[in-house]
Amino acid sequence: MAMIEVRNLKIHYPIRSGFFNRVTDHVLAVDGIDFDIEQGETYGLIGESGSGKSTTGKAIVGLEPVTSGSIMYKGQDITKRSVRKHMQYNKDVQMIFQDSLSSLNPRKRIEDIIAEPIRNFQNLTKDEERHRVQELLDIVGMPSDALYKYPHEFSGGQRQRIGVARAMATNPKLIVADEPVSALDLSVQAQVLNFMKRIQEEYNISYLFISHDLGVVKHMCKKMAIMHRGRFVEIGTREDIYNHPQHIYTKRLLSAIPDVNPDDREKNKEHRREVERIFKEEESKYYSKEGRVLNLQKISDTHSVALPDSTMKGVHD
């Protein structure tokens, strides 16, 4: 059994309008997605802005009210607030954010920031708590005098590591990482990614790794989902997605990544234009009349794609 099982998750926001301000429509931020996160693995969630990837992440941490569907953890549906509270869900599931400066309280010292989740879930004496915070700073490779400093005194990469230390404080089983390195420079990004991998190996943590950066996801995740318009267009292993993409949207996304090898420049451009042309021509085939992503069809044990039925035949032949 997977650690987290998301089933038919929907998060809709009402749109109000008209004279009586009645709900006239809904924004389908997340519109029916299923996936599992296994213990100790990193699951990638890729999408462009507005795809619903961050909303999904927040729902899994319990920060976003769910319209329908279930998120099962240890046999219980944690979409209900009472269940989360009862089983101390957030002791096991924590989050790190993209903007490390705004997600850390500027008026609190690092010690208090990291200790906050401990205080919420554990009853430690002052000494034990300080010891634990020291230990956490150690894990993320920060000097112990960081305890008494404030968030603005650190660089972006260091702050992101403090964010990780805070998320680690309660020995979580899963960390939802929402664009954790998008705001960082290349060399700092490498540092944070390496370090996330290292603590994963050491503590057998799972990540839900949310990113728009296909290069970073490729490096971090063995399994992933491509999200578009609140639904999954394709899920599969790294191999499935990067080497055998089937959905036109996935192909388009992949072709848009600039390559660092200038040799292939013209070839890439040619390829990208070709994919773009096909995307324009065939887009309607891959989406319903309302623009909804079609249902996923299994094409191998690991690989499912939101393909129209006609294309499916082609794949099986």
């Binding site: 309008s17 004279f19 009586f20 301000n21």
Partner: protein
């Protein structure tokens, strides 16, 4: 947009109803009644009781309330116990005084605050900026009544440049030019001090607005287009900096219309604020209730007005 305005006005009805009930109950709960103040020697208890009966003060509160609301809808706010005349007429008269005073002080406020805020923001850190900022901080720290009293003593009593009370001298007949000038003459000092004392918040909003907007990306874009500095300031920086002031304008206007209790009391200016105080002390319920209701209505109107102004000046805010 009209739909929203209409809806907002409709929403005001239940709000006003609630307010009226609340005000009515509070007024009834206060000790004493209007007649206890007018008790004169030689009046017997029986005469008082008869008067109470006559004014309907012995009826259950909901009947009193119903008749009050009924009359109010016909524009009849009842009779003032103290002035022995219709409340509508009384408030109407005072409202005119307050309106002109409010208008004058608003004009003075913006005439002083906008250039001051703009100069302070545009020349941030200069001597002019420090002079303006220091002055506005001092003004912010001075309690209004102290400021009013000092102005009154200095300009009114000491220098005798301005009259020390009232809205017009009795020597002029309404309609004459002298009468109009005399009314303005009576307003100048209170309007000036009321305008000046309200400048600090506007100055500070504008100053920070100008400083913030000067560093905005769109100002950099304008500079990269080769737009001259003067135009950049007027077209890009100033317009955006005036937004928070526009947002506050609706409330500013209506709050001034409500009259300033302290200002009018200090200057013995016969406006709404002064009326409010005097009717409170003399337990003139019909007047007090009508005024509180009016103030409530003005606040709601102010919010609506602010929203409408905002939707006109800021395209990002659309009320549909």
């Amino acid at each position: 947009m009209w739909k929203t305005i209409l809806r907002r006005i409709l929403i005001m009805i239940p709000q006003l109803f609630l307010l009226s009930v609340l005000v009515f109950i509070l007024a009834k709960m206060m000790p004493g009644d209007p007649l206890s103040g007018s008790f004169q020697q030689g009046q017997s208890a029986a005469q008082m009781a008869a008067l109470r009966q006559q004014y309907g003060l012995n009826n259950p509160w909901y009947i009193q309330y119903a008749s009050w609301v009924g009359n109010m809808l016909h524009g009849d706010l009842g009779q003032s116990f103290v002035y022995k005349r219709s409340v509508t007429g009384l408030i109407g008269e005072r409202a005119v005084n307050t309106f002109w005073l409010a208008l004058m002080s608003t004009v003075i406020l913006y005439v002083i605050a906008i250039p001051a805020g703009v100069i302070a923001g545009r020349y941030e850190g200069s001597k002019r900026d420090s002079a303006i900022s220091v002055t506005s901080f001092i003004l912010m720290a001075v309690p209004p009544f102290v400021f009013y009293l000092l102005a009154l003593i200095f300009f009114g009593f000491f220098l005798q440049w301005f009259p020390t009370g009232g809205s017009v001298s009795s020597t002029y007949n309404p309609g004459t030019l002298g009468y109009v000038w005399d009314r303005i003459y009576h307003m100048i000092l209170p309007a000036l001090v009321a305008g000046i004392i309200t400048t600090p918040s506007t100055i500070q909003y504008l100053r920070t607005g100008v400083i913030d907007n000067t560093n905005q990306d769109f100002v950099r874009t304008a500079r990269s287009k080769g737009v001259p500095d003067r135009v950049i300031f007027n077209k890009h920086i100033l317009r955006n900096s005036l937004l928070p002031i526009a947002a506050f304008m609706g409330n500013q206007i209506t709050s001034l219309l409500g009259g300033s209790v302290i200002l009018e009391t200090v200057f013995s200016y016969p406006g709404m604020g002064q009326l409010f105080v005097s009717s409170m002390t003399s337990r003139d319920y019909p007047v007090v209730i009508s005024l509180v209701l009016l103030f409530g209505f003005l606040t709601l109107l102010g919010n609506l007005l602010s929203d409408i102004i905002m939707s006109i000046v800021d395209p990002r805010i659309r009320i549909e």
